[in-house]
Amino acid sequence: MSAPKQDQLKTLEQSRQRLVQLTHSLASLITSLNQSDPLPPWNSLQSQASIISKNLLSVSDHLSDNRELLTSLVAYPGPEYPSRTQANTLEQLLRTKLDPRVDDWVARGRKAGASALEDKGTLSEADLAELWDWAPVEANEEARQRNWGGNFTLEEREAGVQNVVTGLRRVLEDEGDESSEEEEGEEDEMEVVGVRRQSTGAGFEFDIAPASAHQKPVEPVVPLDGILRYMTTGVSPGNR
C-alpha cells in the first residue's frame, strides 16, 4: 500500500480532463436540445453526437490503457470528509455497483456471448478472434482503395472519365487526376441557367451563373463613375 506516485497522479489528471470534455459536450447537447423546437438542425445534432462519441472514446481508451493502475487504486474518505452528514454523497461517489439496467444489459451480452459459442454451426471462439483480428485490417484496406468524395467512382475512372454520361454541360473536374487541370476545353455554348450543388447538401440550386472563366478575367481600370462622367460631359477619366 502506497500513495499514488507523481506519474500515476498524472494519469488520474488525464482522466479528469477527458471527463471534463465529455461532460461539456453532453451539457452542450442538452442546451441545444432545450433551445430548439422541435430539434436542432440535423447536421448540428450529428456533429454534437460525433463530438460526444469522440470524447467517450477518449475516456474509454484512457481507461483501458491504464487498466493496471486503475484496478489497483482504491479510494477512501479521509478524516476531513464529513462522513456523518454526507454519507449519501460519498456512497454516490464511490459506487461500483452497476445500475440495474446496465446490469441487465451485461446479462444480455453474457447470454448472447455464451450462446454464440454453444451453436455448433457458427464460428468457434478462436475463429471469431481470428476474424476480428483480420477484419479491421482488411476493411480498412478496402476502404482506402476508394475515393470517398469526388465526382467519379474508382470504376468510372478506370473505364475512362470521358465515357461517363453526367448529363451536365459543364465539365466535372476529376480531382483524382492530376493532369486534368490542363484540359480547359469548356464548351462554347453556355447555359443561361446554371446548376450547382449547394454546399449544405440540400439539393440543387439553379441560378443565373456568376461569371465563369470564359476569358481571362480582367477587371476594368476605369471605374463606372469615370465612364459616366465622360459620357455626360466629355471629361476624360483621369483628366479631372
Binding site: M1, A3, P4, L12, E13, S15, R16, L19, V20, L22, I30, L33, P38, A49, I52, S53, L56, L57, V59, S60, D61, S64, L73, V74, A75, Y76, P77, G78, E80, P82, T89, L93, L94, R95, L98, R101, V102, W105, V106, R108, G109, R110, K111, A112, G113, S115, A116, L123, L128, A135, P136, V137, A139, E142, A143, T153, G167, V193, E205, F206
Partner: protein, 634 residues
Amino acid sequence: MSENFSLPLRPLVEKPERPDSLPVEIAQINAQYGSFRDVTEESLRAKIEADKNKDPWSEEDDGEKELSDEDTAERLDQLYKKRAAITQFALQAHMETSFALDFISLLLSKNTPVQAEMSMSPYLKQVAPLGSLNAEVIHPPPKTEAAVNDTKSVARGWRLQNFNSAANKLLDSATRLESAVESETKYWNEVLAVKAKGWKVCRLPRERQALGVQYGFLEATPMFRDRGLAALRRTNDGSLLLDKGLIPLKARTVRVRVKSHGQLTGCSKRRPTTEDADSTESRILQARDTVYEEELFHELVREARILGSQGVTTRQNLVRFPVSEEQEVLLDLVDDGHELLADDEPTSHEHDPVADALAHSVRILLAYAHRQNLRRRTQPPPPLSPKRRQTPEYQLLRPVMAYLQHSSHVRWLESLLNDVNQVLKSAGLTSDFTCTPFSSLNFKRFNSSVPKVEALVQEFLLPYESTFSGKLVCPQSSFRTKVRTNVVTPPFGTHYDISVNVPQYPEIRPPNRIGLQDEAAWVLTHFVLLDILTAICQVKATGDKKKEGLLTWQAAYPHDGELMAVSSTGQCRKMKVSLSRHELTVDVYAIREIDAFRRPAATKTSTIRSHTWKLGDAAGQPSLEDFVAEVSKP
C-alpha cells in the same frame, strides 16, 4: 459493383432470440468510428459504462416505417416523444459523467487543489472539503479465470450484436442508396430525354429546387403564358411526372362546325390520338396543345364580344358567326375524348373541308398574333403612365368571317352574272364577264423587313376585294364591279362598287357602295336591260337590206324597259322588255294613239306578240334579233 465486393458484413451467428435491441445512440457512435479496428473490448466496456443509464429497450428501429401512414399530428407527437427520450438520455449520461468527474476531481484535489476544484460540481464543493478523499495503490488479487471468461463472454456477445447491427445498417443504407441512385438515374434520364427532344428545361420560378419544362407560348396572355410551364417531378420510383398544377387534365380542342340551313354540314377533324399517350413527350405535347387551344378559345370569345354588331353571338362555351343568310359557323371548346351527342352529329360532311380550313386559319392567326406581341414587346416601351397598355383583341374571327362572307358574296355575284349570261345567250345575245376573286391579295409585295410568314398572314388582314368586269350586249358597253369586304375597320361588311360604260346613257351612274345583294342585282340587271334596249334600237341601224321597211324602235321609257315604234302609216307599237336573272321577256303591243305626253293611251290594245327566254332553255329558240325583226314588220 457489388459482385466483386464480397466482404461479408454480417458475422455468421445465430439470430438473437430477441430482435436487435441495441440503442440507436450506440450504433450511431459505432458507425462514426470509420473503422472497426478501434473497437476493443475495453472501449466497448467504457461505452457500456457511460451509457449504462440509457434505456436499451426504449426504442426499436422498425417504428419508422409505420410513420409514413400516420398523419402529421401523430408524427409531430412522435417527434416530441423522441425528443424527450433523447433529452432524458443526455441528462442521465451527463449526470453519470458528472459523478465520475466529481469523484476524480475530489480525489485529485488533495494534490492539485486549484485545478481539481475547477471541475467539481458546486454541490460537491459545498459538502466535501478539498482533499477529503484519499487514494492508495494496492495489489489486488488477480481476477479469477471465471471472471475473466465472463467478461469475455459479455464483450463477445455485445460485439457480435453490435457488428450485426452495424452490418444491417450499412446494408440498409447501401440498399437505400442504390435505390436512390437508381431512381435519380431514371429521373435524370427522362429529363435528358425531354431536353433532347428540344424542350426547354429550366428551374421553376417559384420553386427554385424543382425542374420544369416550358412548353407554352411566351407571347400568350400572361394567364396562359404562365400555364406553359409544368414541373418535372420525380415519383418514388424515379419516373418522371409532369405536374401541371391546377390545369385540367383533359385535353381540349377548339372545334369548328358549319351549319347550313339549320343543319350541321361540316365539322373540323379531331386531333388524332397519339399511340403512346402516356409517354412524357406526348403528355407535354398534349399539355402544349391544350394550353394553345384554351388560349385560342379565350381569345375567340374576347374578340366575339366586340363583334356583336356584326351578328356574332357568344354563349358560355360557344361562338357563333353568320357567313350568309343560310350559313353560320359555330366554334366551341370540347374535350378531346368527348362523345358526340345525337344532335351534334353532322347530317352531312359537305363542309368538313371548310371547317378544317377555318380551324387551321384561326390557329395560324393566333400564332401570328403571338408574333405581333413579340414585336410589340421588344420595342422600346412608352413612358410609364397610369394608363395601362391594353392588348387589343386579336384578329382571329374577323379575317375568317371576312373571307367567308366575301367569297359567299363573290359566288353569289358570279352565279347571278352566269344566270343573266345564260338567259342572254338563249336569246342569241352575247355578253361575257371575267371574275377575279380576291384580287386584293398580293403576295408579291413582301417587304424584307417582315418575315415571309408574317407578310403572308398580313395579306389576309386587309380588306378583301374581288373584281368582275365584262362586256355587255353592245360592243361599246362594259361594266366593272368591285366587291369589298371589311370587318376590321368601318364601314363593316361587304359592299359593291359598280361602274358601267353604257354610251347611250352617259348620265346614268349607279349608286356608290351598294350594301344589299338585291340592290346590286337590280342595278346590274337594270344596266343589262338598258343595254339590251340599246341593242334593239340599233337593229335597224345595221342597214341590212332585208330589214328595209321595218319599224324603227326608240327607247321611250328606258328605265321601264319600254320602246316605241311608229310606222309610216302612223301605227304605233310598244315593246316592253323585262329582264331578271331567270328570264328575259319581250311583249309587243299595238297602240292606237299617243297622248300629249307620248304616253300610251289608257286603252291598250291586246298584245300582238310575246316571247320569254328562260334560264336553261334548250337551244333552237328564235333569237331576240329574229323576234324583233318579226315584230318590226309593218
